[in-house]
Symmetry: C2
Subunit: 113 residues, 2 copies
DNA sequence: GTCACCTGCTAGTTTTTCTTGGCATGTGCA
DNA sequence: TGCACATGCCAAGAAAAACTAGCAGGTGAC
């Protein structure tokens, strides 16, 4: 329930992260219940390498989180679950966030954040 | 106030469109008041060609709309203003949208739009 | 030992998006 | 006529994101 208005850069990262069909499906699947990487890859019909890349992006954006666990038979499984994010997108919220964007394209390191 | 849940493809388009610092600033500026292209380009400090491209994307995503008008001195000015969009981003809304995604990467032409 | 299943990383290609620069059109004004 | 400002579009290069393929390590079971 982090409905606290994000900074422009965070909003940008969140939007860019969600703006991908695979990642949207990943979030959808994990919303149902948590899953481990290989399981999810099979379910979505994409390669593990690709999925890991998407999971990495989702995780750095704080939308999902992964935890390494040992299954009963001793195998290492990395389980992922969704974070309880909440972002409201309206002209006002976007305008507010835009004002805190770090200079040019987010290259410059600003005070914000 | 179109808080009606978008289809997966529409959500994807909306997210992809907003996931850009220039477009975020454009929305922010237009939220204040409407503006014509050249005016906005000067204000944001970007080239007109670039801005037009961003405006085109924003418009096809339905986030802004432009109207050609004739100024008092007979010049053609294209004024843009923001649309009153509203999108809620939470695991549930994302999951719901993901289920309506057109097959592979949205390449397939579906019924929607 | 060999197979099946789990994780993680990286180099390199392909694809998409972003940007720039130039060119064309039209109006009013000195 | 030449200048200032408006619009629109396109070709081509630059940059960023997506994806593939391959290799590494580890455990349990037959």
């Amino acid at each position: 329930m982090s409905s606290s208005p994000l900074t422009g850069d965070d909003l940008l990262r969140t939007l860019a992260t969600l703006a991908n069909p695979h990642r949207l499906r990943v979030v959808a699947a994990l919303t149902e219940r948590r899953r481990y990487v290989s399981e999810l890859a099979r379910e979505l019909g994409i390669s593990r390498a690709l999925l890991q890349l998407h999971l990495k992006k989702l995780e750095s954006a704080g939308l999902v989180s992964g935890h390494l666990e040992l299954s009963d038979d001793g195998k290492a499984m990395k389980y992922y679950e969704v974070t309880d994010f909440a972002v409201e997108l309206t002209p006002r919220t976007v305008a507010a966030a835009a004002r805190t964007l770090s200079d040019r394209d987010g290259k410059e390191g600003e005070t914000g954040r």
